[in-house]
Amino acid sequence: MSGIYIHIPFCKTRCSYCDFFKSTKLLYREQYIEKLLEELRDRRHFFGSRKNNLQTIYFGGGTPSLFSEKSIDNILNTISKNFPVADNAEITLEVNPDDLSPEYLKALRKTGINRLSIGVQSFYDVDLQKMGRRHDAMQSRRSLEWVFQTGFENVGIDLIYGLPWSDGSTFLSNLDILSNYPVQHLSAYHLTIEPGTQFGKLKRQNRLSEPDDSESEKIFWALHDKAAEMGFEHYEISNFCRNGLYSRHNTAYWDNVPYLGAGPAAHSFDGTKRYWNKSDLNQYIKQGFSAGISCETLTLKDRFNEYLMLRLRTSKGMNVDEVKKNFESYWNRIEPDINKWIQKEFLEKSDGYIYGTRKGWFVIDAIIEDLFILE
């Protein structure tokens, strides 16, 4: 079991809320792909010599849909030449609605892409404009229709809630629009105003502020309930799916499955060590990944803390037998605290799993922090 993440750090424009690493200089695309392929080839032994089928490939960004079907195909070919890709691998491409056309979608299908994650963010133009998105609501709806006409079945969209100018009911009506399409996956993120963004600047000038936390929590649970009515399982804090179509790639992160991340700023994990590429596109293009790679061996404590942090974000929670088996002494240390949180009804235990309750899930960071082992 393993996965590959391909980072595409290019965008046509920068969104008002985004501080993710990327460049708006599209000129370097060709050189970038060369270096990317070089990295994939050089790291073909990353998962070890044993037969380790690649289960997922994920193109994220930035804006991967700025790349032509040829480029995508090129990258996928290199991957399959160097890694044993499973027959039923999940291959996802993040796309922007305004980059899609029936032709492009058809071509993508031929490359082997079998899952799309569409950056819809909102079905309302006012939201899209304020967020500095390139597309409008019409383009989102049209692209969804094309996507399904082309034959994609495993399709997800992203939405953002907690927009300062909007309210909970407006956000929730996005789901009514969504219900017209057989979308199987939904990622809903709360807006975070980051310092280095356009929104961050407005916040400093007191022209923008995040909504009240209790309001956010209300929206979170209203979203949970409404999505459930529509048949969506809320399987991780920010992720929902229907018919068992989890994002297998992201789920693997939370299951501690090894992954290789290619491209500047991408992270990799081989089971014990975490590697990260420098987030310097120019250096990457000039010298390749090896000039800026760093690595850290995760101690048992680090792995335990990450395990706690990632598992408790999922609705299923953590498996008690699994923790006991892998981290026995740490488990013994935190068990009284776990019980304390269970008693306070922030956590619940059933069928051998421990997970956040309705009272605890939205505030799970505080609980995770409390349970962390520091030394």
């Binding site: 993120y189 936390d213 803390n305 939205f362 505080a366």
Partner: protein, 595 residues
């Protein structure tokens, strides 16, 4: 004996006692200029900074007059209400007192209560008007106050200035001429009054005394009457700038004794020294066990420092017998000590000394006074902390300490002062005009009421003009409640207070409001509740800070997020964890700063 004059100085803080005393030391050549560090008498740093003498000392001067050489013993007195018992013992060792009044300010409450004590002990009062060099001096008006107070002639009042040295000679002459020599019988059994003691790192405890009757020689076997302990007088002597050993001290002399005593607890101010072989028939009257009147928990901020804190408090106690302590534990603060102090100033001094001399970071909990709890079974318990209060069902009644408070102020502030004292459960006992625009007010008040923000309020409503003094007058029946504070449903013992039932509701409400300001937002709501027994009387909520849980958490986010949460957890270790709530140190004293 006829050439000995023992005297003390009665003065309000800032009225220039120390500078004037320095002039006397200079004039009698007791100290050279070089030795005269600003204020010789105040030897602790802390004293010098605060400009008050915390602990009393004594110094001997030689003054030639006519054909005689006189021995003048100045017994210095502490200048704060918390130490009024020590003042009374110093006064009991003297035959006279200099009453020093600031010519720019007039008589203050502190002066009056000490003056009354001196008059009660039949001391001869020599009134001195100090700071005459100041332009704002108003000698006639202040002289009127003094005449009104002690009934002397205007010509008896000496005009002086510690700054210029004016009047120093006149004062020395007056001490010799007006103050009578000590009386007593050198042939009688030894009877010496301990009026103070200090701790010396090399010599142990040094006790200061005045011989009331008889004689004491080096090497004598002596007994301290009230403690019953026996010692050998390893060294005796008189106090000049340093200690000057002598072989013998006789009736009327003031001196020191070193007898290998290790802890200050064995030497009680007011105790009587006598001979083992030929004891006096009775102790000198007026001895009292000094009892702490304010108790508070003192906890190390870092729980690992508990033993260091114990060592520090034990060291402090070596030269401060009035400080008491016993181990105490708190769910919220861990292990610490319940300390007893003479009063609020004493408490502050101890805190500062722990910080300065021992580098100890401590949390002090809300102080309270001692209560007497009478149970239905007829027992009497002295309760020093909120957790010591028995269940209401077993209590018959409770008594709390009362004080007589004396406040002197400009008469235009009478209204607000009355309002303040009455709101503090005070009862007006007496109202006396010292002059047309200066009034002395006496109140009977519960001591507990002045522990909470009384001084500050008095100061602010009187624009700093009111002066305040008190002495304890005994216990009275009270209605006492224990006010608990709960954070997310869990009682925080370190925030519990004992309060009069009438104050419980407003106090609970204000505490909740104050804590709401002080407790930072956490990742869940924090309910702050005030309760009496199981009844919640006030509630506030610190709303949760919580949205970062909804950020993405994929590949590269994982390490970042783990490290962030680890860092946050480390940061919180510096706060006190109460249940699941992080409480900053300052919250534990919040109740003292309510407005």
């Amino acid at each position: 004996m006829k050439n000995i004059r023992n005297f003390c100085i009665i003065a309000h803080i800032d009225h220039g006692k120390s500078t004037l005393a320095d002039r006397l030391l200079e004039r009698t050549k007791t100290v050279t200029d070089r030795e005269l560090l600003e204020q010789t008498l105040d030897s602790m740093d802390l004293e010098r900074e605060r400009g008050i003498t915390i602990k009393s000392h004594a110094i001997q001067m030689q003054y030639p007059k006519g054909d005689e050489i006189y021995t003048l013993n100045l017994i210095d007195t502490p200048g704060h209400v918390d130490f009024s018992y020590e003042v009374s013992r110093s006064i009991a060792s003297c035959e006279g007192a200099l009453l020093i009044v600031d010519a720019t300010q007039g008589i203050q409450a502190q002066t009056i209560s000490n003056l009354y004590q001196a008059v009660d002990h039949d001391l001869t009062i020599v009134p001195v008007l100090n700071k005459m060099d100041m332009e704002s001096a108003m000698p006639e008006e202040v002289e009127d106050q003094i005449i009104d107070l002690i009934g002397c002639d205007r010509s008896d009042i000496i005009r002086a200035s510690g700054k210029t040295g004016m009047g120093a000679e006149e004062i020395l002459d007056a001490i010799v001429e007006r103050i009578p020599p000590p009386v007593g019988d050198p042939g009688a059994p030894l009877q010496a009054l301990i009026f103070d003691s200090v701790f010396n790192n090399f010599r142990g405890i040094i006790a200061y005394f005045k011989v009331m009757n008889g004689e004491i020689r080096k090497g004598d076997k002596v007994k301290f009457v009230n403690t019953g302990r026996q010692y050998e007088a390893d060294e005796i002597g008189v106090l000049k700038l340093g200690m000057v050993p002598r072989d013998m001290l006789s009736t009327g002399d003031v001196g020191y004794i070193i007898s290998g005593i290790k802890t200050s607890k064995e030497v009680k101010v007011g105790d009587t020294i006598t001979h083992v072989a030929r004891p006096c028939s009775k102790a000198i009257s007026g001895f009292e066990e000094v009892k702490p009147m304010v108790f508070a928990g003192v906890y190390p901020i870092d729980t690992d420092d508990y033993e260091d804190l114990r060592a520090a408090i034990e060291k402090l106690q070596l030269n401060d017998a009035s400080l008491t302590f016993q181990p105490e534990s708190s769910v919220a603060l861990g292990f610490g000590f319940r300390c007893g102090f003479l009063g609020m100033l004493h408490m502050e001094i101890v805190q500062e000394r722990l910080d300065r001399e021992f580098d100890m970071d401590v949390i002090t909990t809300v102080p309270n006074v001692p209560y007497l709890v009478y149970t239905k079974q007829g027992e009497v318990l002295e309760v020093h902390n909120p957790s010591g209060l028995p269940e209401p069902t077993v209590i018959d009644h409770v008594e709390e300490p009362y004080i007589r408070a004396q406040i002197i102020s400009r008469s235009d502030f009478i209204g607000p002062i009355m309002t303040l004292c009455l709101s503090k459960r005070g009862e007006l006992v007496n109202q006396h005009y010292l002059t047309a625009d200066r009034v002395e007010l006496s109140f009977d008040m519960p001591l507990a009421e002045i522990v909470f923000d009384f001084y500050d309020k008095l100061k602010s409503i009187s624009k700093g003009y009111a002066s305040f003094d008190y002495y304890t007058t005994g216990y009275r029946t009270s209605k006492l409640a224990r006010l608990d504070v709960l954070l997310n449903g869990e009682p925080v013992d370190a925030l519990s207070t004992l309060t009069h039932t009438d104050n419980a509701y407003p106090l609970g409400r204000r505490m909740c409001e104050k804590l709401k300001e002080l407790i930072p937002r956490q990742q869940f709501d924090v309910a702050i509740q005030a309760a009496i027994g199981s009844k919640i009387i006030a509630r506030e909520t610190v709303k949760a800070l919580r949205k970062d849980v909804t950020a993405k958490c994929y590949g590269g986010d994982i390490t970042r997020k783990r490290k962030l949460l680890e860092k946050q957890k480390k940061g919180k270790k510096r706060m006190k964890q109460v249940g699941n709530v992080e409480v900053p140190q300052k919250a534990f004293l919040a109740v003292l700063k309510l407005d």
